[in-house]
Symmetry: C2
Amino acid sequence: MAHEAARSRILQATVRTLASQGYARTTARAIARSGGFAPGVIYYHFRDLEEVFVDTLRFTSRARLEQYRAETGGVDTAVELVRRLRILYAEDVEEGHIAAVQELVAAANASSPLAERVRGETSAWHDYAEGAIRMLVDGTPFAGHVPVAELAETVVATYLGLEMLSHLGAGRLGPGGLLDAAEQWAALLDAFRSSIGG
Amino acid sequence: MAHEAARSRILQATVRTLASQGYARTTARAIARSGGFAPGVIYYHFRDLEEVFVDTLRFTSRARLEQYRAETGGVDTAVELVRRLRILYAEDVEEGHIAAVQELVAAANASSPLAERVRGETSAWHDYAEGAIRMLVDGTPFAGHVPVAELAETVVATYLGLEMLSHLGAGRLGPGGLLDAAEQWAALLDAFRSSIGG
């Protein structure tokens, strides 16, 4: 395997292992078993497990963010945005992305390299959320009044918090129920935008 | 010490220890040192550390919820609500409540008694948030249109997610910046409510 292909295979195996076994059980041996390679391969491509975890967070976050950008890039109605987000969210769950991120965020101590990476990825998602919010409000009378940065930060925090609760079975309606409500409000927003010729 | 007073002293010491040292270092010895009693006292009042953690989550959640209810109960404007929430939030940080809850939520596995307790406390906070939202929208034309349960679930998730990010230094504006934005919107909402005679 070429270096990059091998690293990517290890990172994918780490996402799956984190999602299925949790952080504490994600040893080099468990990652290797999940990926079908020898544990030594990991240490050939990474300094230590901490580097694997930091790079796994970057890897899964960037892959999903690229997908989110691709799927929502040309969207110009709120209803269509919510519809695409629902599909993307189902993929997040399916691919183990969400469970893996939860495990890594929970394992991060404020001063660790992992926390540094959480800050970096969160920042990239803030930028993405800001762009999506701008698309929705630009050309409406709200445009100058919506605190875009604050709303973007809130949306990212909400996503993480919902995941944390959903992971523990602590939501009543869960993300599905909340997306249903979001879709109704999206329809209202679109009707308003089209009534003002936005 | 009477049984209840002793238990409460142990739970308070556990909140402080979780907040300052993290879950992994919150041993019986560390709790005892923080509370100024012998480690054996803990096992006289609790079956094991798991019971201490489950009861600590209930203890700190209920104490804060009681305070939130007391401070926001008679409030009838959105601006005043946000002002009170800002003070309550500062107390949450100050008392170690937030850090302790973060540690316990991160440590909970979906099937554990601790996760069961997270579900119970989250449910109590959902009820509180629903009441606060109803207070804001009742008597306005939104009343029948606001999905109160969905919004309450989102608010609770947002609070937890913000904490998780703020704990890792991953917010740009942080809870303070978001409360500033909330206060501006609260003023708009109040102006609207008073214009319709609400």
